[in-house]
């Protein structure tokens, strides 16, 4: 009986010490914010488009990190982003809900713009310049093509245009050989079924 008490007492003391050490460690090595959220956020394309159902990339990253959202909601990120998120979260990859559309670019038809600044307020990346009662215009290099400025415009003067393909950004396609295609298909199958 007495040996049982010894055992319980020594374990209790050990647990107490461990608890104190852990408590101190938690205070000492405390990290502000969830590191998982940061990591997930870094994988997302940062269009802030809201197509995932969350008001931006950071909120979606938070939702994924907490297990609230699935890994396959990021539309512009496409398969690559989905696979990276699934890999980071350690879950099975899932099929994408929607095919990513070609990269778009907002364009303000300046002669129709009334200078209401509503699109400027809507732009999540501050890519529209202008002032009240002045024409607004989109900085093409900063536009993420998120579509969020189109809805608020009261005179519908914003078009979404296809992003022009630059010759500098052209890249070689996969070689047109059977083995190249086979290898590619095999990889896609592999990606689809984890």
């Amino acid at each position: 009986m007495i040996s049982l008490l010894y055992a319980l007492a020594s374990l209790g003391v050990f647990a107490l010490v461990a608890g104190i050490v852990l408590a101190i460690a938690q205070k000492l090595f405390h990290i502000e914010g969830d590191p998982m959220v940061e990591k997930l956020d870094a994988l997302l394309p940062q269009t802030q488009c809201g197509q995932c159902g969350y008001p931006g990339c950071k909120p979606y990253a938070t939702a994924v990190a907490s297990g609230e959202a699935d890994v396959n909601h990021c539309v512009p990120g496409g398969e690559r982003t989905m696979l990276q998120i699934a890999d980071l979260m350690g879950v099975e990859p899932k099929d994408l809900e929607a095919e990513p559309a070609a990269p778009m670019l907002a364009f303000v038809r300046e002669d129709e713009c009334i200078g209401c600044t509503l699109c400027i307020k809507a732009c999540p990346v501050d890519a529209i310049v202008g002032a009240p009662k002045q024409y607004h215009t989109v900085i093409a290099d900063h536009c993420t093509g998120c579509n969020l400025c189109v809805e608020p415009c009261p005179v519908d003067c914003i078009d979404m245009l296809m992003k022009p393909e630059l010759i500098e950004h052209w890249s070689w396609p996969l070689p047109d050989t059977k083995r190249a295609q086979l290898g590619h298909e095999r990889r896609e199958q592999h990606a689809g079924h984890g």
Partner: protein, 527 residues
């Protein structure tokens, strides 16, 4: 001999330095004995707004403007850029997109000049015949102003290399007369026909960078060119530090880094430039163009082009004005029907295969080849499995492992390929050339490089967008806080009572409250 043993022997001085790998393709130098012919001026010239590596130029002329030969028609935007000049006198007829010799088949904004047949030159740029007493920076500005870019095919703006940097003094100037690509002979012919001018150009370069020694490198399949250069060198008394080196023919000896190693035994580190190890290498054609720019005040408006190929009746070396339609050049050499023919821009090893000849001659046009499809070995479409023979690794001049890299690129493991130094690949094509399984290795590398560049571009754009979005959120927060602060400020100042009175009332309510509490306590005690 294995690369390691060879390197060891070279370090010990038992063997002359020589780059590793390489191949010996059939050279097919059909035009080696054909003198450079001056080509007639085309009715319409097409000048793409970018003919160099770097930033695109913007037009300085408008439709309807009259221009003279050598007049600047497009201004360079940014540092890494050189202007474009009119190749002949005439009228600007339109400015619109036109296909350029690029594997994508895409185009660039181009200026179309209809020649008036007079070919009048713009004389505003004066020759600097006394270059030896001229400040190198002034000569450098001349090289930039005249639109010089490396005419060996890479078209890197020449003036950038021609600089005296105290941190990296140039010791050796190398004149690259290797021309290791099969078929091409324009540098060969230039060395035979313009040896004096080229040497003078080399002297200008050595003056500009402050170098004393120089090497003229020629492969032994052009012995007569080496002799011609040696002869011209002997005739000069002021170039004692310059020697002519004849090297055994091997592809890709003309590649800058490989040539520098062969000649000096010094390796250009990955991601560095030859100037970092005190070497400057310049192409023959560019050196001649520098001579023209300095001594004659002529901007770059023409270049020599080897028009050749097994499907061409009359291969030749032509002195062509930039912007000349390639179709007319082939027609001049007796080729009109392009069915069953593959057009190659540049050499057969590294050049671009193009679908049709509807593009102009640009600064990078070293050669224009018309190859019959059989000769092009359509075999490359039947890719066989890799048999691990290792020939590609032996042929690689930078000691990469091509078969492994190709595997990684094929299965989209781009980051891994980058770790195996994919970006050090110079795309010389030696591996594809030796592969017995006809694996289009270089094509895989280009695919991998393109995809990786795309990913990196996307990542950096995402990073920039994230920063913008975070700054915006922070700004909105701050504005909200400022607004709230202002509102409370306004409320304070517009309150009906003065601060003193307010303080008094506060005090009153306080005391009153306390009194109330006391009262309640009193009632409690009463109870």
């Amino acid at each position: 001999m294995p690369a390691m043993v060879r390197k060891l022997a070279q370090r010990l001085g038992m063997l002359q330095h020589s780059f590793v790998g390489g191949v010996h393709p059939n050279m097919h130098k059909l035009t080696a004995d054909v003198a450079i012919e001056e080509c007639d001026i085309a009715p319409v010239h097409v000048l793409p707004m970018k003919q160099h590596i770097g930033e695109i130029c913007s037009p300085l002329v408008a439709v309807g403007d009259l221009v003279l030969r050598g007049q600047k028609i497009a201004r360079s935007e940014g540092y890494l850029s050189v202007p474009v000049h009119a190749p002949t006198s005439g009228r600007v007829v339109k400015i619109e997109e036109h296909t350029i010799p690029h594997p994508s088949g895409m185009g660039l904004p181009s200026i179309f000049i209809e020649s008036d047949g007079d070919d009048k030159s713009d004389e505003s740029i004066a020759p600097i015949s006394d270059w030896i007493n001229t400040d190198p920076t002034q000569l450098r500005e001349r090289a930039r102003k005249c639109g010089l870019a490396g005419l060996g095919g890479a078209v890197f703006p020449t003036f950038i290399k021609l600089v005296q940097d105290k941190r990296f003094p140039i010791e050796t100037v190398i004149l690259n007369g290797i021309e290791c690509e099969p078929y091409l002979t324009n540098d060969h012919r230039l060395m035979l026909e313009h040896a004096e001018e080229i040497l003078e150009g080399m002297a200008i370069i050595m003056h500009m960078v402050g170098a004393d020694s120089g090497i003229i490198a020629v492969e032994d399949n052009k012995q007569n060119a080496a002799d011609s250069m040696q002869q011209a060198l002997d005739a000069r008394s002021d170039m004692d530090g310059v020697v002519v080196h004849v090297l055994p023919t091997r592809y890709p000896q003309g590649s800058e880094k490989q040539l520098i190693y062969t000649l000096t035994g010094r390796e250009v580190p990955a991601g560095k430039l030859p100037m970092h190890i005190g070497v400057l290498s310049q192409n023959i054609g560019t050196t001649k163009a520098l001579f023209d720019a300095v001594m004659l005040g002529k901007p770059l408006t023409e270049r020599t082009v080897t028009v050749s190929g097994d499907a061409l009746a009359k291969p030749s070396n032509l002195l062509v004005r930039l912007g000349t339609p390639v179709r007319s050049l082939f027609a001049r050499q007796g080729l009109d029907d392009f069915s069953g023919i593959q057009i190659v821009h540049g050499g057969p090893m590294m050049g671009e295969r193009l679908k049709n000849p509807d593009f102009p001659v640009v600064k990078s046009s070293t050669g224009l080849l018309a190859m019959s499809l059989q000769a092009m070995k359509a075999a490359h479409t039947v890719e066989q499995p890799c048999i691990r023979c290792g020939h590609c690794s032996e042929a690689c001049p930078i000691s990469l492992v091509p078969n492994l890299l190709a595997d990684q690129c094929r299965s989209d493991q781009f980051e891994k390929a980058a770790q195996y130094d994919l970006f050090d690949c110079i795309e010389c094509g030696a591996c594809s050339y030796v592969c017995p399984s006809n694996i289009p290795l270089v094509h895989y590398f280009r695919y991998g490089k393109g995809q990786l560049a795309l990913q990196r571009r996307e990542d950096s754009f995402a990073e920039a967008s994230r920063k913008r979005s975070e700054t915006r959120d922070a700004r909105i927060e701050r504005e909200k806080a400022e607004k709230a602060a202002r509102r409370s400020q306004v409320r304070k100042t517009h309150a009906p009572k003065t601060d003193e009175a307010k303080a008094e009332t506060d005090a009153e309510t306080k005391t009153g409250g306390e009194a109330g509490v006391a009262d309640s306590k009193a009632t409690e005690s009463k109870d």
